[in-house]
């Protein structure tokens, strides 16, 4: 198996280490001036593609991001990590505010067809909206098999992936025929850091930009956000001095 063409979805999200703040108008969270990064699960997805390229299973990796101009930074990171070229589908302003997984999936499915991709990698979910939908929807739109929540991927023959998946009670093993969609779970791998030489090299890699209109996809939102609010605050309780006091307190509230 060689010369598979891979596509990796790279979403730009608020960095995982940032403590988010709800906007005063309760319609979203504050994003201005906040550090953004590639969605951590997408980094894992990209790392897997890069490792498959290093093993000569994959011949080319296309990184894709749909969103505002700043997504170019996310894609530069992807190129520095090992993607060969990048496609930025630029979505700005209000359209970006209303951009939802179904619309993104339709754009990705179109790109996958245009680019004659054999294997599409996504993170299992993005850490902003926590939807966990895009990989499954792309697979559905293309009628491809889906190997979601992957924690190990092996190849078998020239057209099959053996995938170990993380499920509620443990692990599951499936086989999917290519072309297929794979979504990455936490333990699939540990993504590499982009090194300075690779960041420099990434600047020379091919980078193209397009619009949702060029892909012929209607990106109007299907869900309307009514409000975004802070979660109820849980008040800190009391400190107990020792195990005896803890047991007394637990008996008082009737849980032991």
């Amino acid at each position: 198996m060689a010369s598979l063409r891979a596509l990796v979805g790279c979403k730009r999200v608020i960095d995982y280490a940032v403590k988010i703040r709800v906007k005063p108008d309760n319609m979203g969270v504050v994003t201005e001036g906040i550090k953004h990064s590639m969605n951590p699960f997408d980094e894992i997805a990209l790392e897997e593609a890069v490792r498959m390229k290093e093993k000569k299973i994959v011949s080319e990796i296309v990184a894709v991001s749909c969103g505002p101009p700043e997504c170019q930074e996310t894609l530069r990171t992807a190129l520095a990590m090992g993607a060969d070229r990048a496609i930025h589908v630029e979505i700005k302003g209000e359209e970006y505010q209303g951009l939802q997984p179904l619309a993104v999936s339709k754009m990705l499915a179109k790109l996958i067809q245009n680019e004659k991709v054999d294997i599409a990698f996504f993170g299992k979910q993005a850490i902003d909206d926590d939807s966990n939908q895009t990989g499954q929807m792309v697979a559905s739109l293309l009628d491809w098999p889906q190997a979601t929540f992957a924690s190990k991927i092996e190849t078998e023959g020239s057209d099959t992936l053996k995938v170990m998946r993380e499920i509620d009670g443990g692990l599951e093993h499936i086989k999917v025929k290519l072309p297929a969609v794979v979504t990455a779970d936490l333990r699939l791998n540990e993504p590499r850091y982009a090194t300075l030489p690779n960041i420099m090299k990434a600047k020379k890699k091919p980078f193209s930009k397009m619009s949702s209109e060029e892909l012929g996809v209607d990106i109007k939102p299907r869900l309307q956000v009514k409000s975004v609010v802070d979660p109820p605050v849980r008040e800190a309780g009391s400190t107990v001095e020792n195990v005896d006091e803890l047991i007394t307190k637990l008996k008082d509230v009737g849980v032991v």
């Binding site: 902003d128 499954q136 889906q146 929540f149 599951e172 499936i174 009514k226 849980r234």
Partner: protein, 312 residues
């Protein structure tokens, strides 16, 4: 409303989360239909026909549904939807539902709504974003809502008291050989399942190694509790991934949650902060876990946990 709940089961028993999904469907009002698909459905159908609030049970028993692949279940559910025109299709927000519902939704050209924690109306739903650090309310303009249900947010429907009519699901010629189920490695435990347990004891990096989890198992057996872990403990290889409590693991909300040697990263808190009573045992008085704990004990866990086990 008229809702379809996709049952999750293992061929012999219903997965408890299914009853929470039925509970959510009941909140929507109207008839609740449950679809049971699988290689073996007879036991599960018997169990679910008695579930409170279920008016109809549709059964699709076929070897092709072995492993409950989304690729084979989707055509079946599409055909069922074509025939019955449900206003809502629901499944539990576990690996099964999360894998299935978006695939189905894209075929229906509908935006799915993941992991809901509240229902405000037929088309208005509440869910968490940013690992539980914000709560979003959305309304849908689609003709049918496809939803996954967070179990801890919806009381389960009673397992008995109902008498649903059992019918065959619409027949559909499913032949799909692009994906194949090969098998599972499930953790076998005598203890209750994490998401269904009345009490949960979780260990973090402070446990130092996997053997030390024995201390938690001993305490768990005394309390009839399930044992979980933080992501740090799973990543360090102390325990398997299916024990992870947190945003990317399991979301739990038991009567009693005891966090042992867990510092309390946001991602962990997202998975347990709806527990009724939270106890934290940690020797670091500044650990963030104490900010959500009802009762905090600043002590070495290797001393406190055995003492607690002995005195309870």
């Amino acid at each position: 409303a008229s809702s379809l709940v996709i049952a999750e089961h293992n061929g012999s028993d219903v997965v408890p989360l299914t009853y929470n999904s039925i509970g959510a469907a009941k909140q929507l009002g109207g008839d609740v239909t449950v679809l049971v698909a699988g290689k073996d459905c007879s036991n599960v159908s018997k169990q679910l026909a008695q579930a409170e609030g279920v008016s109809k049970l549709l059964v699709a028993q076929n070897d092709i549904f072995d492993g409950f692949l989304a690729e084979t279940l989707t055509p079946l559910i599409l055909e069922t939807q074509k025939q019955f025109n449900f206003t809502h299709i629901l499944a539990g927000a576990g690996a099964f539902g999360k894998n299935l519902i978006p695939r189905l939704a894209a075929k229906l050209d509908v935006a799915p709504i993941s992991d809901i924690i509240g229902i405000n109306g037929e088309r208005e739903f509440v869910r968490t974003i940013y690992a539980g650090n914000a709560i979003q309310t959305v309304t849908s303009s689609d003709p049918v809502s496809l939803i996954t249900v967070r179990g801890t947010a919806f009381p389960p429907s009673g397992p008995t008291g109902g008498s649903a009519n059992i019918e065959d699901a619409p027949s559909v010629a499913v032949s799909y050989d692009l994906s194949k189920f090969e098998g599972q490695e499930l953790s076998i435990s005598e203890r209750p399942e994490l998401t269904a347990a009345k009490a949960v004891i979780s260990g973090g990096r402070g446990m130092k190694n996997g053997e030390n989890f024995e201390l938690l198992y001993n305490l768990a057996d005394k309390l009839g509790a399930a044992v979980g872990a933080s992501r740090a403990a799973v990543d360090a290889g102390y325990v398997p991934n299916d024990m992870q409590v947190g945003q990317t693991g399991k979301i739990v909300a038991p009567e009693l949650y005891i966090a042992v040697g867990i510092s309390g990263a946001i991602q962990h808190l997202a998975g347990m902060k709806d527990s009724k009573v939270i106890v934290a045992i940690n020797k670091d008085p500044d650990a963030p876990i104490f900010q959500v704990a009802d009762f905090g004990l600043v002590e070495d866990l290797f001393k406190a946990v055995p003492e607690l086990t002995e005195k309870l």
